[in-house]
Symmetry: C2
Subunit: 192 residues, 2 copies
């Protein structure tokens, strides 16, 4: 792993700490301590804790984007690629014992009314995430593996939102069942 | 409205303040100030802020339960009762300009990893909410208005989780569209 700059160390620590404790559940000092950097160095790199949260979301989003490459993989019908993609996300959650959920969903629930800059970044990122899913939905509708009587934009947005709801419930129930229900109901009822 | 006891005033204020600011985004003092009661009176009635959050969830849940009566109304096929029920919830969200979301979902995202007592109350409450929806799903499957190839428990849980995901996205996007997508995709694809 390449040596991280001090700024990158703070962002990596922020992703982990914000994901585990939420925005208002941790302090800048919690984040700099976990990063092993002096608290005073924080304001050399960030204007505010909100500014850092936006940078942390950006870094988390890069990981999400990497997983989205699976959707572009041409192996099998579009519907199966979508099912594999969500099962991959679910496996990551299972490894984590259903704790922490999705940083995007957590920040959306906690911070949308508290910070315009965080809300706007979340809106952009969720639009991009939905867009990547929509491209695969269109492929699935074209190859005949997904029903065509509902528009691809609505299906894509709904898949992502329903999955965010399922991972939140998995966190409450400490159970895989909400993620299985998502597969059994939302995905299954979209198959052609 | 009957005169509220000091304890009830604190709980009413907690529902409103926790819903608007989140658990870690407000202090006990914010809640007692908004209630117009002395901060010192708080610990006569509650052992901790967590204890108050559980009482606030209980009060919020009573409002949810009142809305659930719509599902038992025998007017029309089960599928239409479900669609009306979720549209009613969506209208409440619209009146609120898509701010605040659902207190249950917000607490689930923010507090499931932070407080066992809050997480356990949320799990029980979501189980009861799913159960009430399931009774209507069973009626819809029996009267032929909903597809029968997926089990009623999974459908009910998934409806609730997907709606929670939709209301979270509505809060981020400040838009009704995620709630329309829920109707157009999840509800529509379950119709018989």
């Amino acid at each position: 792993m390449p040596r991280l700059s001090l700024k990158e160390k703070i962002v990596v620590s922020a992703v982990e700490t914000l994901h585990r404790k939420g925005f208002n559940g941790c302090s800048v000092q919690d984040i700099t301590e976990a990063a092993g950097v002096p608290k005073g160095s924080f304001y050399n790199h960030f204007q505010s804790k909100e500014d850092l949260a936006v940078a942390a979301l950006e870094r988390y989003w890069h990981k999400v984007q990497a997983s989205l490459l699976m959707l572009g993989d041409q192996d099998g019908p579009g519907m199966e690629r979508l099912a594999r993609y969500f099962r991959h996300l679910n496996d990551l959650t299972r490894q984590n014992a259903y704790e922490t959920g999705c940083l995007v969903g957590n920040m959306a629930a906690e911070m949308s009314d508290q910070s315009a800059s965080i809300r706007e970044r979340l809106a952009g990122l969720l639009a991009d995430w939905s867009g990547a899913i929509e491209a695969c939905v269109q492929a699935a509708q074209a190859d005949g593996s997904m029903r065509r009587d509902i528009d691809s934009r609505s299906i894509a947005a709904c898949l992502l939102n329903a999955w965010e709801g399922a991972i939140m419930r998995a966190k409450v129930d400490r159970s895989h069942r909400p993620l299985e229900d998502f597969d059994r109901v939302v995905l299954a009822s979209l198959r052609a």
